[in-house]
Structure formats: C-alpha cells, structure tokens
C-alpha cells in the first residue's frame, strides 16, 4: 500500500531527528592527543539496552540492581568525556562554549553554577512534566581536569540517589541539589506524556 508523501515525509524527519546524536562530542576530540589520562564513554540507546540485559548477572549481587535497571531502561544515552591534563592551560572556557550553547538552545535549565577560582561546576537539567528531567548534564572544570557528563532520558534526582553505594558507585546525598521549585517554574506549560 502506497502512502502519500505528505504522511511519509514528517515521519521520516521525526525518525531522523530521533536518531541524531544529542551533541556533537567530536568538538572535544581535540583533547585526545593532549593527554593519555582520559575516559570517553558513549552509550547510545542500543548499548544501554544491551548493558541493561547484563545487569544483575554474574557478580552483581546487589539487591538494588533493579533501581539501576529501572533508571537505565528510561535512558536514551550516556556520554562522558573526562580529560586529565599534565599541565595547566590545556583547555579554555571557549572549548566548553559549544556545549553550553547547545544546552541553552535546547532549553535546558542550569540548576547549579559554582565557580571557585579556576574551578567550575555547572549542572543542567532538561525539565519536562511531572517534576522529571529529560536529561542531566554536568560540566566540571578544574585547572588540569575537564569533565563533561551528558545523560539523556527521563529521570529525577532521586533516581540517582537510589544508586548510592551500589556497584562501587560512591554514596552521594544529592538532596542539596534538589531545587524542584526552579524546575517547576522552568518546566514547559504544555504537559507531555513520557514515552
């Protein structure tokens, strides 16, 4: 059965948009040659699904592995770039600017900005309905270290809190970072249903 182009084209565009990477992390690839101490993790939807299948297998004896599974099931992608440099001044704020611009363009909300000298921490969330996030992004810059975390997918901070102490993940009390009032203000008025 042939579908008219008017129906097929928007569907195709939607699919292409859904497959697009969230941010072009290749802009940070220039640091690859500047340090040997780096961690680059790219887990797209398919890889997360695959990882999710292996959670709870083998040596995972943790009782809260279900919490991690639930969190991972809702995620669309995890992208980590961590660079540790041997000397100062290997990167500039301009290197992070494209990511900031992208987050601003996508209407992410900066919930934390803390600068202490050359040390900088920024936490962004993408507000969606029902006090949930569509993603979390962290920019952590130190004199000799730069870390960018970009997690896409429905979650809330309590999801991350649940992970405390599991699977070798450090225990963190994230309650101080909760600012749901800000999120409510920033959340779009039009409510969307989660996928």
């Amino acid at each position: 059965m042939k579908r008219p182009l008017i129906f097929t084209l928007p569907l195709l565009c939607f699919r292409l948009a859904a497959q697009q990477p969230p941010f072009d992390f290749k802009s940070l690839d220039k640091f690859d040659s500047m340090t040997e101490h780096k961690t680059k993790i790219t887990l797209d939807g398919d890889m997360l699904k695959l990882a999710g299948k292996f959670l709870g297998s083998d040596d995972d004896k943790d009782k809260d592995v279900d919490s991690i599974k639930n969190l991972v099931n809702n995620l669309k992608g995890i992208y980590i770039r961590n660079y540790e440099f041997d000397k100062d001044g290997q990167y500039t704020q301009a290197d992070i600017e494209p990511l900031r611009a992208y987050l601003k363009q996508q209407q992410w909300t900066k919930i934390v900005e803390q600068q202490d000298g050359k040390e900088l921490s920024e936490v962004y969330v993408q507000p969606i309905a029902n006090e949930k996030f569509g993603g979390v992004a962290i920019i952590a810059a130190e004199t000799r270290e730069l870390t960018v975390v970009y997690i896409s997918g429905a979650m809330n901070l309590s999801d991350l809190e649940k992970l405390g102490g599991n699977m070798g993940i450090p225990d963190v009390d994230l309650s101080d970072l909760k600012d749901l009032n800000n999120l409510k203000k920033a959340a779009p008025k039009k409510e969307k249903k989660d996928d």
Partner: protein
C-alpha cells in the same frame, strides 16, 4: 546324424576364446569405477554433505554469536558503571563546592 548326436555336439565343451578372462576382468573393473564415480557426482550426495556441514556449523555460529554478544554486553555494563560513578563523583564534587561556598558566605 541322429538327435542324440546333435545334442551332444551342441553341448560339447569348448575352450574360451583367447584373452576372454582378461577382457571380463577389465570390463568388470571399468564398471565398478564408473559406479563409484557416479555416486560422488550425484547431486543428492553433495546436498547431503552440504546439509551435514551446515548443520554442524549452525551451533558453532550460534555459540560464537552468543559469546560476542555477551562480551559486548559485559563491556557495555562496565562502561555504564564507570559512567554512573563519574556522574555521581562530579555531583558530589559540585555539592562539596556549593557547601564550601555557603559556609564561607555564612562566616
């Protein structure tokens, strides 16, 4: 010549022509070879052999695929844990910085 003599003449033993035995043996050997060659050339034989080979390879392929998927899965899981660890570590760091700054302002 009476009837008995005719029968006797007809049934009398005669020696085989020269090289008869050699010709018989040669013919028999040739026919045997042809029969053996035909069996190997038959499509059904090759089909059967191919079937056996495929049947033997399928489980090997399946196991190999499962092993690869398992390796990929375990690698993805390890990366997931590392990613979550880094995320939480950076959130912890951020929180500490906020706390330090808040304390400084309070003083």
């Amino acid at each position: 010549m009476n009837f008995e003599d005719e029968i006797r003449a007809a049934l009398r033993r005669e020696p085989p022509p020269p090289e008869f035995a050699a010709r018989v043996v040669a013919l028999a050997a040739q026919q045997k070879k042809v029969r053996v060659m035909n069996a190997w050339r038959a499509p059904s034989t090759w089909a059967l052999a191919a079937g056996i080979a495929v049947a033997a390879l399928i489980p090997v392929g399946v196991v190999e695929h499962q092993n690869r998927e398992r390796q990929r899965g375990l690698q993805a899981k390890a990366e997931l844990y590392t990613a979550l660890r880094i995320t939480r570590s950076k959130l912890q760091q951020t929180k500490e910085r906020v706390r330090r700054a808040t304390t400084r302002h309070a003083l």
